[in-house]
């Protein structure tokens, strides 16, 4: 099923929880709604589910406006962060609850519940109550309950946030696999960018009730359209440095105090002559080298595979991912090589990218 959101807006009193959201979700597509808490992603999801009525704008399923369709007529399955299992019912009763409401014949009901339970690996737990299950098992029941009615669309509201890290990793893979196998259009709300990056076909980044960008994970990472997206996607986050880009002798230079770098022409020309701009560069695109910009190591944080190093260049500080075998120490002076083919430039006023927006 295709889902289209058109200028979708929800106000709670004077607060704009979600404003003017335009989004097209293709049939069978897996879209993540990503953003910090309170950015309106759950509000948007609940509008799609039919729990909240939009203040204005439209929600269309396969081109049909469904704004006033009650949740039960939308044929969606939803998985919640709190699992939202019915505590007084057994796993079997939880799974068959949606089918009972549809007046499915008893035998078919039992068959379908068993099939879904087996698929989710909870077939042996049918007689248990939710309180007797582990978090992971509860989440499987919740997922099974969403799937058992063969929905046209799956909605996920931070389904993995209550699981421990290891389980989250394996469930992540399972959900993605399941979604691909079943080909059900899915919308997945999360504040965890790793979840969004690894699972989704496309990520819609939201902030303060607005849709910031919607693109594939690679595009968001390599071609962020706004300062917010650039800073939000990627861990450790992108470094931002105020610079001025000038053209000298045919070359473009990004300059500030104690800082002068040559920028490739195709990126430099878009940032040149704009006064002060924000240069963005990811920690993995800076390397410790024999030549380059001089800075002093402020702190070294070992992450295992890499060391995360904070280097002060004049008044600016940048994060760098470095090889732990280098044995870097606090207070040491190092030289940094910036991979200028990967730099981003943003307008400090509009916070829009100078490279990827017109």
């Amino acid at each position: 099923m295709k889902v289209t959101l058109e200028r979708l807006t929800k106000h709670f009193g004077k607060v704009v929880a979600a404003g003017d959201i335009d989004l097209d979700i293709g049939d069978g597509e897996f879209v993540a709604l990503l953003g910090p808490s309170g950015c309106g992603k759950t509000t948007t999801l609940l509008m799609i589910a039919g729990i909240y009525k939009p203040t204005s704008g439209f929600i269309k399923f396969d081109g049909r406006v469904v704004n006033h369709l009650p949740p039960k007529d939308r044929n969606i399955g939803m998985v919640f962060q709190s699992y939202a299992l019915y505590p007084h019912m057994t796993v079997f009763d939880n799974l068959t609850f949606p089918l009972k409401l549809k007046k499915t014949p008893k035998e078919e009901m039992a068959q379908r519940a068993q099939r879904v339970a087996d698929m989710m690996g909870i077939g042996h737990l049918m007689d248990r109550k939710p309180a007797q299950l582990s978090g992971g098992q509860q989440q499987r029941v919740a997922l099974g309950r969403a799937l058992v009615k063969e929905p046209n669309m799956l909605l996920f509201d931070e389904p993995l946030s209550n699981l421990d890290a290891r389980l989250r990793l394996s469930m992540r893979g399972e959900i993605k696999r399941l979604q691909m196998d079943l080909g059900i259009t899915s919308i997945y709300v999360t504040h965890d960018q790793v979840e969004a990056m690894t699972m989704a076909d496309r990520i819609a980044v939201m902030n303060e009730g607005r849709l910031q960008a919607c693109a594939t994970p690679d595009d968001l990472y390599d071609r962020p359209e706004t300062l917010f997206v650039a800073g939000f996607i990627g861990n450790p986050p992108m470094n931002f440095i105020d610079v001025e880009v000038v053209r000298e002798n045919g070359d473009y230079h990004a300059r500030r105090e104690a800082f002068d770098l040559v920028v490739p022409a195709e990126r430099g020309e878009k940032a040149a002559g704009k006064g002060s701009v924000i240069l963005g560069i990811r920690p993995e695109d800076i390397t410790i080298a024999d030549e380059g910009i001089t800075g002093e190591i402020y702190i070294v944080e070992p992450l295992g595979r890499d060391d995360l190093i904070t280097v002060h260049i004049g008044e600016a500080g940048v994060h760098v991912l470095a090889d732990p075998t280098l044995g870097l120490r606090m207070g040491q002076t190092v030289r940094l090589d910036f991979n200028m083919h990967k730099v981003q430039f943003f307008d400090p006023q509009t916070e829009k990218s100078l490279l990827w927006t017109d």
């Binding site: 609940l46 589910a49 039919g50 729990i51 009650p70 949740p71 039960k72 939308r74 969606i76 399955g77 939803m78 919640f80 962060q81 709190s82 699992y83 939202a84 299992l85 019915y86 505590p87 007084h88 609850f97 949606p98 409401l101 549809k102 919740a142 309950r145 009615k149 509201d157």
Partner: protein
């Protein structure tokens, strides 16, 4: 432990013991007196079971109903209190907790004001209302008024319990295809069973012990035998010496069932303080 620390530890106990002495003495007397011909303080001047004769023969002549009839009446009033208070409160508490509608806030604060209103001041207007409804001097009328007085508390309590039920669960049920009523009945009500039990017990107990309302809205001989607490009143005649030993026997008789009831249900009753007071999401 030093001597000083020991004294420090003992002080709270000593204070508590001193403060419960009057209550304990009262209860002791209540246990001794019904089985005594006469008491001097806590000392029995002779043991007897004659004070319990009301159990097999009406103490005020055969025209008066037996205590068992009165007990049944009391039980009916208390049970209808429990049933109707729970029914109405849970039906009213749900929309007040979950739905948005005009006047919701003012309704809630109004309920609280009514709850804070001393019921004594309403006795006269209620008398006229009952007269108008032809329910004066009937048990239905008495039960109705008692249920009404209990409702503000019940509604607020239920609202508190509903507030604590996760929104996600309700949303899940709506998405699964349930109607609002089915969500209330099949999903929400079962999860707040402890709250319902607590309210039912509380209402039952206050129905069992009610005095003011049954006493005010019943008259004549039939009225004076309506419920146990009013029945007790009969023993304090204006012309005859009050047999206090028999009064305590009837009092103990009234107390025993609820005491057992309380012992078995106090765990649920505690939910009123543990569960209902918390704010909702």
């Amino acid at each position: 432990m030093t001597w000083r620390q020991r004294v420090g530890k003992a002080i709270p106990y000593v204070l508590l013991i001193i403060s419960i002495i009057p209550v304990t003495v009262g209860y002791l007397w209540l246990l001794i007196s019904p089985f005594s011909t006469k008491t001097e303080g806590l000392r029995s001047l002779g043991w007897t079971l004659s004070n319990w004769s009301f159990l097999w023969k009406p103490p005020f002549g055969l025209n008066y109903p037996s205590i068992w009839r009165v007990t049944l009446n009391t039980f009916m009033v208390a049970t209808s209190m429990a049933v109707f208070v729970v029914l109405v409160s849970s039906l009213a508490g749900y929309p007040l907790s979950r739905l948005k509608f005009a006047g919701r806030k003012s309704f809630l604060s109004l309920t609280l004001i009514v709850h804070a209103f001393p019921s004594v001041t309403l006795l006269i207007p209620i008398y006229f209302v009952l007269r108008f409804l032809h329910l004066f001097n009937t048990m239905v009328g008495v039960a109705l008024v008692m249920v009404a007085f209990e409702l503000p508390f019940g509604v607020w309590l239920m609202k508190g319990f509903f507030d604590n039920v996760s929104w996600d669960m309700e949303r899940a049920a709506l998405i699964d295809g349930a109607s609002r009523f089915r969500v209330w009945w099949q999903i929400i009500i079962p999860t707040i069973k402890p709250g319902l039990a607590a309210l039912a017990i509380f209402a039952f107990l206050s129905g069992w012990n009610a005095y003011l309302i049954p006493f005010t809205f019943t008259i004549g001989r039939a009225g004076k035998t309506a419920v146990l607490s009013v029945y007790l009143q009969n023993f304090q005649g204006d012309t005859v010496m009050t047999n206090w030993n028999m009064v305590t026997a009837v009092g103990l008789f009234q107390l025993i069932p609820v005491m057992f009831f309380f012992i078995f249900t106090q765990e649920y009753l505690l939910n009123i303080y543990a569960g209902g007071a918390k704010g909702g999401a």
